[in-house]
């Protein structure tokens, strides 16, 4: 019996020939990171271990993306803890604002995570990097502290679920729609403790930007990791960026899966996850009665250049509805610059959008667009739980950048077709 890509990476990092689902293994970690919310706790726990130095200063990144630029004095103090630790430990991968972006987009873009890696981050959306063919999973601060000290961490080998995409994607159907559709179908715990492996001819046609959105939200189905077998699209993306050698693992044809699901993309429509769960997924057409106060385009889920191009295609020549605040945040400075050079930022400003500095922005309801009581926001982020984006009685709806942009123009949840004529995306 063969192994899945997830099993192969875990086995290789545990120094064994094979692993089986359910087994506990101790693995070497290739790279790890924490942010300004999780690192202060991780650093405190690390200090309790009385180990002077991190296991390898070149394998640690600290990214203050959540509440930086500092939203208040206490956020400033948390960022100071990261900065001081990075200097004391001589960690080269500390990112000050101006160079900082949303960690999941930034670390991939910087080539610090490569195919075949075992990568952990004290942030649940670390699963994002599985699109590169790496085993990437989110852990808490204590796990991260232990890994920072020893370079090792224990894992339970997950069973894998296989999702095969076939058929032609309709216009305006994006990676976001595919993953929301799956979560809507299997539920927010449908992949709990499991690996979600995405494959198939329709996936092969998707760009890396679209693929990252898919693996990014595997955690919203409860998965331990989301992963894809690297192909030529992956390697073309990796070659100019990688800061380390990489290794390509691919699932064996006779690998064993807990489930096999074939998804015919030609039937799928753009979708929205209704408040208050990423699992409440309906076609956009069924949500058009929902009026909105704010629209947010950005985050680790959808703040990449292709997401911004998609938003610009909808917003070009349009005006944001007078009752709506549209906030657009490129995920990293590099993406911001590219959007500027491509003229996208001008399109956004002309439409009446506010363009923010890279970071997580209003995704977690802390700053840069917090919702008041009763307010509604359509967001390209990944979570819409109660109180996620502000007041416990505010509401968040999740969608692709195209749907969020169309909604910002019409003042209610809208299909992009209602604003512009049809275009094909993501090829």
């Amino acid at each position: 019996m063969g192994m899945t890509i997830t099993e192969k990476i875990l086995a290789a990092h545990a120094g064994v020939d094979r692993v089986r689902p359910g087994e506990l293994v101790e693995c070497e970690v290739d790279f790890l990171f924490a942010n300004d919310i999780t690192a202060p706790l991780a650093i405190r726990e690390f200090e309790k271990l009385r180990v002077e130095k991190v296991f390898d200063r070149n394998k640690v990144a600290l990214v203050p993306d959540h509440y930086a630029p500092n939203k208040d004095i206490r956020a400033a103090e948390q960022c100071m803890i990261l900065r001081a630790f990075a200097r004391e430990q001589e960690i080269p991968w500390y990112y000050e604002i101006g160079r900082m972006g949303v960690a999941h987009v930034l670390l991939a873009e910087e080539g610090l995570v490569v195919p075949g890696d075992l990568f952990v981050g004290a942030d649940s959306h670390t699963v994002n990097h599985g699109a590169l063919g790496a085993f990437a999973t989110g852990v808490g601060s204590t796990d991260l502290a232990a890994a920072m000290a020893t370079g090792r961490l224990w894992f339970k080998v997950p069973e894998s679920m296989r999702f095969e995409f076939v058929g032609e994607l309709k216009p305006w159907v994006t990676g976001k729609d595919l993953i929301l559709w799956i979560i809507g179908r299997i539920g927010v715990d449908g992949a709990r403790y499991r690996a979600m492996e995405f494959t198939g001819p329709a996936l092969a046609q998707l760009s890396m930007d679209q693929r990252f959105t898919l693996t990014n939200m595997a955690v919203e189905a409860g998965a331990k990791n989301g992963i894809m077998n690297p192909d030529e699209v992956t390697l073309e993306w990796v070659r100019p960026r990688a800061k380390r050698p990489w290794k390509v693992y691919r699932s064996d044809p006779d690998a064993e899966y807990a489930s096999n699901t074939v998804i015919d993309c030609s039937h799928l429509e753009p979708v929205v996850a209704m408040h208050p769960s990423p699992g409440n997924v309906v076609p956009v057409w069924e949500a058009r009665h929902i009026e909105i106060d704010q629209a947010f385009i950005g985050t680790c889920t959808n703040g990449r250049i292709e997401d911004l191009r998609l938003a610009a295609r909808v917003l070009e020549g349009q005006t944001v509805h007078p009752h709506v605040r549209l906030i657009i945040i490129p995920a990293t400075p590099r993406i911001y610059r590219q959007a500027l050079e491509e003229g996208l930022i001008k399109i956004f400003l002309d439409a009446g959008a506010a363009v923010g500095t890279p970071g997580c922005g209003p995704c977690i309801g802390g700053h840069m667009g917090v919702l008041g009581e009763g307010e509604r926001c359509i967001s390209t982020s990944s979570r819409n739980f109660i109180g996620r984006m502000g007041h416990p009685k505010s509401e968040a709806y999740l969608s692709s950048p195209a749907v969020a942009a169309a909604s910002a123009v019409l003042g209610r949840i809208a299909h992009p077709d209602e604003v512009v004529k049809r275009v094909a995306v993501g090829r």
Partner: protein
């Protein structure tokens, strides 16, 4: 490791955003986090839950973010144990890593209401609902997780391993 306390029953899919909203994640102080625990679910709950009480919940408790502040806040309320039908995976690791025991037992959750007196024996994996006179057997806590609880969490465990010269976590 036996605990006796009053049950607080919550629903399915309780996420980390309602356990501790991100707007309060500008501190790592357990007591301060505890004052906002479950705030968006019921702002009075943190005052009602007493030290020694047991939180009882449905499926997928702790879904969402990796914030360890969530189990820290629950632990700082004095909650001795969380009993649920199932747990989200990062929350599960985080809880054992900080020494907060979790038990999975769907039958016991279904048979428990808020206010019931529960007696939990972690090593035996039993849950005794003293109010209803029912005894339940939970899924056994894996030996490695029990070991983490015995030594008071992952940091103590790793420190022991490092001192023993094993250099690694020594599963």
């Amino acid at each position: 490791m036996r605990y006796r306390g009053k049950a607080w029953k919550l629903g399915d899919h309780i996420d980390t955003d309602v356990i501790i909203p991100a707007r309060y994640l500008v501190t790592t102080d357990p007591q301060e986090l505890a004052r906002h625990c479950f705030e968006d679910l019921d702002p009075t709950l943190h005052e009602q839950i007493q030290p020694g009480d047991i939180v009882v919940a449905g499926e997928n408790f702790g879904q969402g973010s990796s914030r360890e502040h969530a189990p820290i806040a629950i632990q700082a309320l004095g909650v001795r144990c969380v009993l649920a039908k199932s747990f989200a995976r990062i929350f599960y690791r985080n809880s054992f890593n900080i020494g907060l025991p979790l038990l999975e037992c769907p039958e016991a959750v279904d048979g428990t209401e808020t206010g019931d007196e529960l007696e939990v024996d972690l090593a035996a994996g039993t849950i005794h609902n003293l109010t209803k006179g029912q005894l339940y057997h939970a899924h056994a806590i894996p030996p490695f997780m029990l070991r983490l609880l015995q030594v008071g969490g992952l940091i103590n465990y790793v420190r022991e391993q490092l001192q023993a010269g094993r250099g690694v976590q020594g599963l």
